[in-house]
C-alpha cells in the first residue's frame, strides 16, 4: 500500500445518514479476490437500477472525486473490510462525515483511507474542491483552513503506507514473554499441537 501526505481534488457529496457497510458493498460481491478490484461494487444497489444500469443522478455517478462527504453513522455495521476496498478502488482517499462505525474507521486506516469526523455544519460549509494535508492535519477550503484531529499512529500509517505487522515484530520479545505467563487453562484442551490433553 502506498502512502500519501497531500490530497487535492473535487468533493462528492452523499447527503444521507446511515450509509452502513451492507450498502457500501452488498455481501454478494465479497467472494471476489481483491486483485480484481472492488470499485464497481461501491454502493452498488444505490448507484444502479435492478438491471445494473447506472443511475445518472446518483452522486457518485454524476461526479467523481477523491473526497467523499457523507451523513452521520457512515460505515456502521459489519466488519467487512471490503467496504473500504470498494471506496479505495473507486479512487476515494478521504471520507468526511459527522460520525463513523468504529470497525470501519480502523479498517480505513489500514488501507490508506482517511476518515475525519466533522460537525454537519462544518461539512456543509466546505467548498467543492478541497486540499487535505496529513502532516499539518488541515483541510483547506478556499480561503479558510480548518484543523482536524488525527492520532499520530493513524497519521503515520496513512503517510507511510505502514503495515502493523512490521511494527509489531519490534515487540517480539514482549510477545514471547507474555506467552509464557498465560495460565494453563487458557490453552484449549484436545487440540492438535495444543498444550492441553492430546486429541
Amino acid at each position: 500500500m502506498r502512502g500519501w501526505t497531500e490530497l487535492e481534488g473535487p468533493v462528492v457529496r452523499l447527503p444521507r445518514d446511515g450509509i452502513d457497510t451492507d450498502q457500501l458493498i452488498p455481501a454478494r460481491f465479497m467472494s471476489t479476490p481483491r486483485s480484481e478490484g472492488y470499485g464497481d461494487y461501491l454502493l452498488h444497489d444505490l448507484r444502479r437500477g435492478p438491471d445494473g444500469t447506472l443511475d445518472p443522478e446518483f452522486p457518485l455517478n454524476a461526479s467523481r472525486g477523491p473526497i467523499l462527504i457523507a451523513g452521520a453513522d457512515f460505515g456502521t455495521g459489519s466488519s467487512r473490510e471490503a467496504a473500504v476496498y470498494a471506496l479505495v478502488d473507486a479512487g476515494i482517499r478521504a471520507v468526511l462525515a459527522p460520525s463513523f462505525g468504529d470497525i470501519f474507521a480502523a479498517n480505513a486506516a489500514n488501507n490508506g483511507l482517511l476518515t475525519v469526523a466533522l460537525a454537519e455544519k462544518t461539512l456543509a460549509a466546505l467548498r467543492p474542491v478541497l486540499r487535505i494535508d496529513l502532516v499539518s492535519r488541515s483541510i483547506v477550503s478556499g480561503p479558510t483552513s480548518l484543523r482536524f484531529d488525527l492520532d499520530e499512529v493513524t497519521a503515520q500509517k496513512l503517510i507511510n503506507g505502514w503495515d502493523d505487522i512490521d511494527l509489531t515484530r519490534a515487540h517480539q520479545d514482549a510477545i514471547s514473554a507474555h506467552r509464557e505467563t498465560i495460565p494453563a487453562w487458557v490453552w484449549p484442551t484436545c487440540v492438535r499441537g495444543g498444550k492441553g490433553a492430546p486429541p
Partner: protein
Amino acid sequence: MSGRTLFDKLWDAHVVARAEGGRSLLWVDRHLVHEGSHHAFAKIGARGETLAQPELTFGVMDHYAPVRRDVPPMPAVLKMMERLADNAALHGFTCIAPEDQRHGIVHVMAPEQGLTLPGLLVVCGDSHTSTHGAFGAFAFGIGATEVAHVLATQTLWQQKPKRMRLRFDGALGPAVTAKDMALHWIAALGTGGARGHAIEYAGPAVEALSMEARMTLCNLSIEGGARCGMIAPDAQTLAYVKGRIHAPTGAAWAEAEADWAGLYSDTDAVFDTEVDIDAADVAPTVTWGTAPDQALPITATVPDPLAQPETTAAKTRDTLEYMGLKPGQALSEVTVDRIFIGSCTNARIEDLRAAAMVLHGRKSVVPGLVSPGSAQVKHQAEREGLDNVFTEAGLDWGGSGCSMCVGMNGDTVPAGQRCASTTNRNYRGRQGRGARTHLMSPSMVAAAAVTGRLTDVRMLLAGRA
C-alpha cells in the same frame, strides 16, 4: 486508586506492550476464522507469513454454508468453502465443514465446543463476535488487515475503549426476551449510542437471563455501536462451560475457577457512561425501519414524518418509502411475506423452543425457513420433535449457517418482500436487494408466521407459556 471494571481487568490481563499515542498490543487467546477471512489469508500469503499460533485458530464454514438440501449450492459458494479448507490444511489449524458434527455458526459453535471461556480475548473477522462476551470474555469483531495481523502475530493493536455499564433493573414481563432488551436499548440510545465503548450488561434482569439469552444480548452490542459487550461470569456461566470438549479439566479447571472468581467490576469501579433501564418498560419489540435503532413496541404505530422535526422527517419519509409502510399505521397491521428463524443472534435451542411453543398445532400462513444455529442445536431440536412442529406448520427445516441473515449463500428475500426475521440487521439490501426486514424475537417471528402480520405474541401464548 479506584477499583477496576470487569473490562479493565480483561484489558490489563492481555496487554503485551504499550505504545505512544495510547495504543496497546494485546494478546489474542482465540482467533475464529471463516470463509469470509479469505482476504486476510491472501495478505499473509503474499507476505510469506506463517501462523503464529495455529492451535489458537479455529475455522468454520458458516457465512457461505448451504443450509437447504433442496437447493444445490452455487459454484462460488463451494469455492469459498474450499478456499478456507485449503488455508486450514496449509497453515495447520482446525477447520469445521458443514458435514461435521461440531458445525455451526461461528458464534454458536465456539461456545458449544468450550472454545469460549470467561477471561479470554476472542476475535473474529465478524462484527457479532461480541456474542462471546456473554461468558465474561473480551470479544470483538475485526477487519481483514487485523485478521492477517492476528494470524501472523497472535496479537492486535487496540486503543482502549471507554467503559459503559448498561443496567437492567427489575424483571422482564411475560414473553419479553433478550432480543427485546437489545432492540429497546438500541432504540433508546441510537445506533451510535455506545460508539467507542465496551459495554458491561448488569442488573437483576441480566443476571436472570440464561446463557443463551445472554449471548443474544451481547451479540447485538455492535448494533448500538459498541466495540464489545460483556456480562460478568457467575455460577450459570461455569455450569455451561464445564465438561465441554475444549474447556479446561482437572488442575487447569481449578485454576480457571480461581481466576474467573475475580472477573467482576469492583464496587468502587468507575464507568465513563452509565445507563439504567427498567426491565418492566421493555415490550415485545419490532423494527420498522432500516437501522436497528428504528424499533418500537409491537403495540405502537409507524412514525409519522408530519409529527417530526424537519431534520428527521426527511429520513423517516425515505425509510418508510423503502419499507413500504404508511405513516401512523399500526405495526400490528403490517403484513409479512415470509419469515426467517436463524442466525448467530437467535438460532439456539431455547430460541427454537420459544418459536415452536407458538407454532405448535398451528399453520404458518407465509413461507419461511428455520435454520438451527449448529448441528448440535439441530440434533437436539429433532430429539425434541421441534423440527416436526416447524414442518407441520409449513416451514422449511434447514441446516446451520448464516443463511438468510446476510444472504451470502444465496438464501435471500426477494425484492419488495417483507420478512419477519430473528436476525440482527434490517439494513437496506441486507437480506437481498430491495428486501424489507423486520427484526424481532423468535416467538414474535413465529406469531407473525401464524397471522401473516406483525403480531403481539402475548396474544398467542394464552394457555401455552
